[in-house]
């Protein structure tokens, strides 16, 4: 009742007669007209702009800051890139380097980067919704078809949209991309560059076609149950198999294995007994002198992992391989695995026996102690075959009778553009794309036990790096103007032919050395080695490699090459691996003057401080970085030294030697001085 009365009174008050009605409607109209300016007045960005103006007011550079300040909505419009960013409407001081001390957002200036925001906009790197003019919409859009802003921790991924080649300033992206290849992610997941090249893996999963010759079914069982229990550094992930599944897979793998044809004679070398400590010690020496540790890691007594990661870890290898297989493998690895990175060492049979004794002592009795498998039944073998197809083992390994699993897992070419609406989040994961990818890598099975993706053992840093590399795979990358893209280097097809080419393949030179874009980075690049060295030195070095650098832990192993083999390699290298920049006979070393040489000595020590990195006089010099130069006159070509001194970076880009930009006179004098250095190292002195 009372409410009705009140309403009636109110109606009479406002609309009682035509004057009142006119007055009330006018007020309503004025209010309606006031809504737009009022809304405008309370805009978030206007508040920030006012705050900015009061922030700069008391600074000594207030006048110049105020002069550059532009009010109103600001926009960077780049139609070619599909960018219309209004971020600088609130981020007012973005280009003001003098505000570097400001800690309050949105007023911090942008930290220095190589690109200008006016050329690339903001969302190119930061993603989010650039056209929005409120913080919520721009940064945290939860719209199913949109992406929120990218957490700064993954910002390097945006560099990767254009830079398909590794750049120095993006270590996280570089390491993530290397891991996609190194951990074999791209064996199951296809990742294609905007140019259409598919990323290839750099790991080396072995062929399983002759696995029964190499190891036992028990070892296979234990390994596939948990690879990291055998080798901490194993890159094979854990497939979280049940005992039954592992039993059946091991049964199938052994049953499909075929004998392999070994080239060497099958007589076993004399292997020392496991209690012969002196012989084991000699085996350890052979292992050390052959520089096996350059590629293979082994846990030492202190529990530290020592060695490289090219080949498998050998901490428990004695519990794995059959000795007949090991003898054959050490004689010539490519007889078993044609694609292995391991060189054909020309070991003497005696040394093979010693290494076998040493490796045989690297056992872990606990590793196989709990494994008891009965004889494999046909049902187990059949089930094993089904499992191997289901799990995609053949995406990485060659297996008899199993077709290579192509595109086994979802393609990840545009995973960085996945919108939130397309993602099914597992419980407990923040609803962002980086968090989703991260959770997928960290614990794939948290998205469902039926998922096939295995469990990898990765550190937080490694997961972050992988997420960064995957976030670089965006649709935007594909639509960018081609002029902006820096494509990855194409895989080199360099393959030396003939007798020398076959020898290089046999010795796996390119596992460590890079030539013409092909090969590893463990040892020096050799593309222009023929212009660099003297033939006599090269022949000696191939036969008996001595380390050139005093503090180097790895050095080239001795392959026991014959004179003929060393000669064939040297001839090829001296002829084919020549730089087009100069001719090797450009400088006649015999005509370099003694006066030049003594001037060169002064320059060497006083002007250029070469002795801070190189040892030339072993008594007084101590530099540990560059090669020792005591016998450089016997090793290097004079024209090479001359041009190296002028600009080493032009001859070997990325070398630690500087581009000295040296004038011809200085370079000639130091060349004369260095060509005089012909003190042969004493046998065994340089180690």
């Amino acid at each position: 009742m009372r409410l009705g009365e009140k309403l009636r009174t109110a109606r009479d008050l406002l609309f009682g007669d035509s004057t009142r009605t006119f007055g009330s409607l006018s007020v309503v109209l004025v209010l309606l007209l006031a809504i737009v300016p009022a809304k405008d007045h309370f805009r978030e960005w206007l508040r920030y702009q006012k705050e900015y103006q009061s922030l700069i007011r008391n600074r000594s550079d207030a006048v110049s800051l105020a002069r550059r300040f532009q009010g109103g909505v600001q926009q960077t419009w780049l139609p070619e890139l599909g960018i219309a960013d209004r971020c600088s409407t609130c981020h007012v001081g973005l280009k003001e380097a003098s505000l570097a001390g400001a800690t309050k957002q949105p007023f911090r200036p942008h930290p220095p980067i190589p690109h200008s925001p006016t050329e690339f906009g903001c969302v190119m790197c930061h993603r989010g919704q650039g056209a929005a003019t409120t913080v919520e919409e721009a940064h945290r859009s939860a719209n199913a078809s949109e992406q929120p802003i990218l957490p700064a921790h993954y910002i390097e991924s945006s560099c990767g949209q254009c830079h398909e080649r590794a750049i120095t300033g993006t270590p996280q992206l570089n390491s993530g991309r290397a891991m996609l290849a190194r951990y074999g992610c791209v064996r199951c997941h296809k990742v294609t560059s905007p140019e259409g090249f598919t990323m290839t893996a750099t790991d080396d999963p072995p062929s399983l076609e002759h696995i029964a010759a190499k190891t036992t079914r028990e070892w296979i069982f234990a390994w596939i149950r948990n690879p990291q229990a055998y080798a901490v550094t194993a890159t094979m992930p854990n497939f979280q198999l049940s005992d039954e599944d592992a039993r059946d897979i091991s049964a199938f793998l052994v049953s499909q294995s075929t004998p392999y044809v070994s080239g060497a004679d099958r007589k076993m070398p004399a292997v020392p007994a496991q209690d012969d400590t002196a012989a084991l010690q000699s085996g350890s020496s052979v292992y050390g002198e052959a520089f096996c540790a350059s590629c293979h890691a082994m846990q030492n007594a202190a529990g530290l992992m020592v060695g490289g990661n090219v080949g498998p870890e050998l901490t428990r290898v004695g519990s794995k391989v059959n000795s007949e297989w090991l003898a054959d493998w050490l004689r010539n690895p490519s007889a078993y695995d044609a694609d292995t990175a391991m060189p054909h060492y020309r070991f003497e049979e005696k040394d093979i026996g010693l290494v076998m004794g040493f490796l045989g002592s690297k056992t872990d009795p606990d590793f196989l102690s709990g494994v008891h498998l009965g004889a494999a039944t046909p049902a187990q073998v059949a089930h094993g075959r089904v499992l191997i197809n289901e799990r995609g083992c053949a995406a990485c390994h060659e297996i008899n009778g199993i077709a290579h699993a192509d595109n086994f897992a979802p393609e990840l070419t545009a995973v960085g553009s996945l919108t939130l609406g397309k993602i099914v989040f597992a419980p407990g994961i923040a609803h962002t794309l980086p968090d989703y990818i991260s959770a997928k890598i960290r614990k794939p099975r948290s998205f469902g036990n039926a998922l096939k993706m295995p469990q990898f053992t990765l550190s937080d840093m490694q997961v972050d790096a992988l997420v960064t590399a995957l976030l670089a795979q965006t649709n935007r990358a594909k639509t960018l103007p081609a002029a902006l893209r820096i494509p990855a280097a194409l895989p080199s097809t360099y393959k030396p032919a003939g007798l020398a080419g076959r020898l290089m393949n046999d010795l796996r030179c390119f596992s460590c050395h890079m030539v013409d874009g092909r090969g590893g980075d463990m040892a020096p690049e050799l593309t222009w080695e023929g212009s660099s060295v003297q033939r006599s030195w090269l022949v000696n070095f191939l036969k008996n490699p001595n380390t050139l650098r005093p503090a180097l832990i790895r050095r080239m192993p001795k392959f026991n090459l014959t004179d003929v083999e060393a000669g064939v390699l040297a001839d090829y290298i001296m002829t084919a691996w020549q730089t087009p920049a100069f001719d090797s006979d450009q400088i006649d070393a015999s005509k370099l003057s003694a006066a030049d040489a003594s001037h060169g000595r002064e320059l060497y020590y006083a002007k250029y401080g070469c002795n801070s990195c190189h040892i030339l006089d072993p008594k007084n010099d101590k530099g540990y970085i560059g090669p020792t130069l005591t016998a450089v006159g016997l090793r290097l070509n004079a024209a090479w030294i001359f041009h190296w001194l002028k600009n080493a970076q032009a001859l070997r880009p990325g070398s630690l030697e500087l581009n000295w930009n040296m004038n011809d006179d200085d370079a000639r004098a130091i060349t004369a001085f260095l060509m005089q250095q012909k003190t042969e190292p004493k046998e065994g002195a340089a180690k």
């Binding site: 309370f42 600074r59 570097a100 800690t103 930290p111 220095p112 700064a152 270590p171 020592v306 401080g609």
Partner: protein, 249 residues
């Protein structure tokens, strides 16, 4: 005519409140599941993990470790230490009880913006008074990250006296020992222009040791700027550039 004003006032209050609501979220609060302490100390000190540099949002290489001591300086076990930090720093674990050595260790992940972060380890004495230890850490921006990468390749063999299993330091081989990049006491006194000049033209050109070679033109000017930016970022004591005067501060 008073009512329309009241409505307008309501509308404006609503709009202002709506605007205010979108301010930055408040800092992290200690986790609800912090264990209850069994011991109380009289002091807390930083043991290790200070002055590290990492990428923005990245975990620090080394754990941050704080120790709780009693009045005599002896380690206290079972004291509750809570870690907190500005600007979105996360800790794993965010709180813990000290072990028998009186120490708590945590892995810190810096916030998403480059700059200096202060991490705080807090414990309470018997009366409930908070005791704090501070750790300053640096999150590197792009330029500083580039500087760190270049420094690792070109500079650290001489400027870092520590040898690793993979790499022997050349520091002790030089007649004039190079300064560590973190040696703020010395390097902060070198002006920006001089620092760039030494890296670019080498020691000899500036009357210093010729053992420092000239890195121009091996490195581009922008690379040398990046190296200088990294040197400034890791300086200890921190580098304070001569900047703009601000009457507010």
């Amino acid at each position: 005519m008073r009512r329309p004003f009241a409505i307008a006032a309501f509308v404006s209050i609503g709009l202002v409140a709506g605007g205010c609501r979108r301010g930055p979220p408040s800092g992290p609060s200690p986790g609800p599941s912090a264990p209850s302490p069994t011991g109380f100390g009289a002091a807390i000190v930083d043991i290790s993990g200070e002055k590290q540099a990492a990428g923005a949002g990245a975990p620090l290489d080394q754990p941050v470790i704080a120790q709780v001591n009693d009045k005599q300086g002896k380690a206290v076990a079972g004291a509750l230490v809570q870690f907190s930090g500005s600007g979105g720093v996360r800790f794993d674990p965010p709180a813990g009880l000290t072990g028998t050595d009186g120490q708590v260790s945590t892995v810190a992940r810096l916030g998403g913006e480059a700059g200096v972060y202060s991490l705080v380890a807090t414990t309470r004495d018997k009366s409930g008074k908070p005791l704090q230890a501070m750790f300053a850490e640096v999150a590197l921006d792009y330029q500083q990250t580039l500087g760190r990468e270049l420094g690792e390749k070109y500079c650290s063999r001489c400027h870092n006296a520590e040898s690793s299993a993979e790499r022997v330091s050349n520091h002790d081989n030089l007649s004039v020992p190079p300064h560590a990049f973190s040696d703020g006491a010395t390097l902060n006194r070198i002006s920006h222009a001089n620092l760039i000049a030494i890296i670019s033209h080498g020691g000899a050109a500036l009357g210093k040791s010729p053992e420092m070679p000239p890195y121009s033109p091996t490195l581009a000017a922008s690379d040398i700027e990046a190296l200088a930016a990294y040197v400034r970022a890791v300086a200890d004591p921190p580098y304070r550039p001569q900047g703009v005067f601000n009457a507010n501060q």
